[in-house]
Subunit: 420 residues, 2 copies
């Protein structure tokens, strides 16, 4: 490998899903009647969306008709990845982000927290997991499927699902409901068997953006947009500050498509609360014994961020966020993603970034988080990946240790110290 070796791009955020009605054969027969009702609701939702936003939706869907079939068709998917320069990807549910027509039964994907009936929650998740397992098995070296596990409903059953998933090639993570709603919050040790099972199977646990308490937001989409990032990253604090990563030091927790700009301030403030001296002394005294390290030190070890299509500002903040924390992603096949113009977008956003930092955010951090074997990916990257020169990068740029240290400026400014 030299400076201009092609990037082995691992997209840490992509989506797959069958057109809703095609989930039927993957769904246990006793739920087929309830599935009909779900489908009827989905169709109404589609009609409403089309009424509100016809021009935009129609343009997207007709322009990209063939490529959008990659949501469920493995050959088409590989073709799209190849054309886009992407060697491997992490795969979440709900491929249709506009009208929701590729969601697992009963909304068991990105809206899993909304399902009230545990039977439906597990049935919908299992239907998607069966489909996902098949999709990922077609080229498990390129795919990290994220299985669905509605842990809020039943911890024991969740553990069984995790154990089932752990056996499947190409399954490399699980996703839990982003919101716990009326169930136990994620700081509750009742979830320990879930964390233990994920640690044992080396399956990172994910939450993915999408959910929010819509019932408090009226019809105001702006409120949703303003809050959705909080609701997505909220579980991090509940796991970290309840000591979950002390009890399960091998546990990895990933927050996906909830952006990453907030990571920098989160690390700063959290380090300051524990180790920042006078102003927070009264609080820090109450946290003794829970954490053995500074909060920022769990990032990149236990906490990762599927940062999707990072903004330029997030890339500028990379030494505060951590190139070993943020994992870039295409969000294929969602319209807010980079597909089918990934290389062009990377050139625009990463043109002035050193190659070493870029390799971390586009590949190495995800490889480490998900345990991708890079050996079988390299020949694929050699065939399809962009070179640093393709991205307009200056091969002589190198990040210095001083720049990395300056990224975590608060460590010097507050002289943060923490002895647990």
């Amino acid at each position: 490998m030299n400076e201009n070796t092609r990037y082995t791009i691992i997209s840490a955020d992509a989506h797959a899903g069958l057109p809703c009605e095609q989930y039927r054969p993957y769904l246990d027969a006793q739920y087929h009647e309830q599935f009909d009702a779900f489908l009827a609701e989905k169709n109404e939702q589609r009609e409403l969306a089309m009424k509100l936003n016809y021009e935009y939706i129609n343009e997207w869907e007709t322009t990209h008709e063939e490529g959008l079939r990659g949501a469920y068709d493995a050959n088409q998917r590989d073709k799209e990845m190849d054309a886009d320069g992407v060697a491997a990807e992490v795969i979440f549910p709900d491929a249709d982000a506009i009208t929701g027509m590729e969601s697992p039964p009963f909304g068991a994907g990105l809206s899993a927290g909304m399902i009230e009936d545990p039977e439906l929650a597990f049935a919908g998740a299992r239907a998607h997991n069966r489909f996902l397992e098949e999709l990922c098995a077609t080229s498990p070296e390129r795919r990290a499927g994220v299985g669905l596990v509605p842990i809020t409903h039943d911890v024991q059953r969740a553990v069984a699902e995790i154990e089932w998933l752990a056996e499947k090639p190409g399954i490399r993570g699980i996703m839990i409901p982003t919101m716990w709603r009326d169930h136990r919050p994620y700081n509750d040790p009742a979830y320990d068997p879930v964390w233990a099972a994920c640690q044992a199977a080396n399956l990172p646990v994910h939450v993915h953006s999408g959910e929010a308490p819509r019932e408090e937001m009226g019809e105001f989409i702006g409120i949703y947009l303003a809050e959705v990032v909080f609701w997505t990253h909220r579980p991090i604090a509940h796991l970290l500050f309840s000591g979950a990563f002390e009890r399960f030091p091998g546990l990895k927790f990933v927050v996906t498509e909830g952006a990453s700009y907030w990571v920098a301030d989160m690390k700063w403030k959290w380090d300051q609360y524990l180790g920042g001296g006078h102003t927070t002394k009264k609080m820090a005294a109450l946290m003794k014994g829970i954490l053995s390290k500074l909060p920022s030190e769990y990032f990149g070890e236990n906490i990762f961020v599927g940062a999707s299509t990072m903004s330029k500002e997030e890339i500028r903040r990379r030494h505060s966020i951590g190139c070993d924390v943020a994992m870039w992603g295409t969000d294929y096949p969602h319209p807010e993603g980079t597909w089918p113009n990934t290389v062009e977008r990377l050139r625009k956003d990463f043109g002035d970034v050193p190659v070493g930092d870029t390799r971390k955010m586009l590949c190495e951090t995800a490889a480490r988080c998900y345990g991708f074997d890079l050996a079988p990916l390299h020949p694929i990257a050699e065939r399809i990946g962009p070179t640093p020169t393709d991205l307009g990068q200056d091969l002589t740029l190198v990040t210095t240790p001083e720049e990395i240290r300056a990224g975590e400026w608060w460590k010097d400014e507050y002289q943060v110290r923490w002895g647990g």
Copy 2:
């Protein structure tokens, strides 16, 4: 006034309150029995805090015994302000931040959202308001008392309380429960009579940090610290994106002691959602007709931040947050505040800041937000205020229009455009 004229410091965050039991004469007699139960609870709470943290509490309380009486004693308070260089202040409830022994009856101050019985919520608020009115009347030019109004329980009664408060010299704002809990969220037009009354009386509406859904946090103080800022600023999004500032363009909303570092990213992301082009187009289309301006343009007009003892990083971010948005404050008499070392702390934090920016954050923005008459404050400041030279400032430093524009970097980077 020249460059080295003494600062007229208006502290946008201070607290006052009687020792709990002394609220009795201010509380309507029919609540005295319930008040006894509240007092018993308070005393237990104090004992527990002392057990957990005796050394720290005892040191603070004995070292500052005299000065802490300023929480309710007007003469002592003026003496502390004078010695600390503070000309005027905005006054919130709950003067004892450590053991909670200066809280209004039934926790009607910073924990108002926790009160379930509307009768107790209004009775406790009224008791504090009667005390506050007296305290502020002693020198209304130096005090902006913030009255308590539990709007979540009863909008009509809230409006009556606002009208009562509006008549009182030295009352210049109201505080509402930070969390609406099971009541209507603040985006609900049912609160319009409250916003109308506050607009008519020119009383800024406040939320103040403190509340959070503790029932979801177990015993983990770290979770509370990680989330409390969100719960404090949450109402901004609900008011702004439901169009409250369009219906009430004179309404001012202030978020106090919830820090200010988040303002910069909030303005960036919110401007981007509305006016940022391709990636957010599908969302922006749904916001047509609600806002006439970019979200960032409501900051400094309708939205203000009582930033309390700003960190150096927040001061560095001042052109992104806005010197016309953030209002510095001592947090007197809380131990995490700057009292009794305010000038020393200002020297440390503002030493490299231009005088013009400093005057905004220490004085002018608060004067504009609260309608302070600066004429009677100037002679006080001439007597007690620090000069820029006292703060170690370079009198030749001037902020350029380019620096201010660079602070709102996203406006150029995304070429944000919004036509409402």
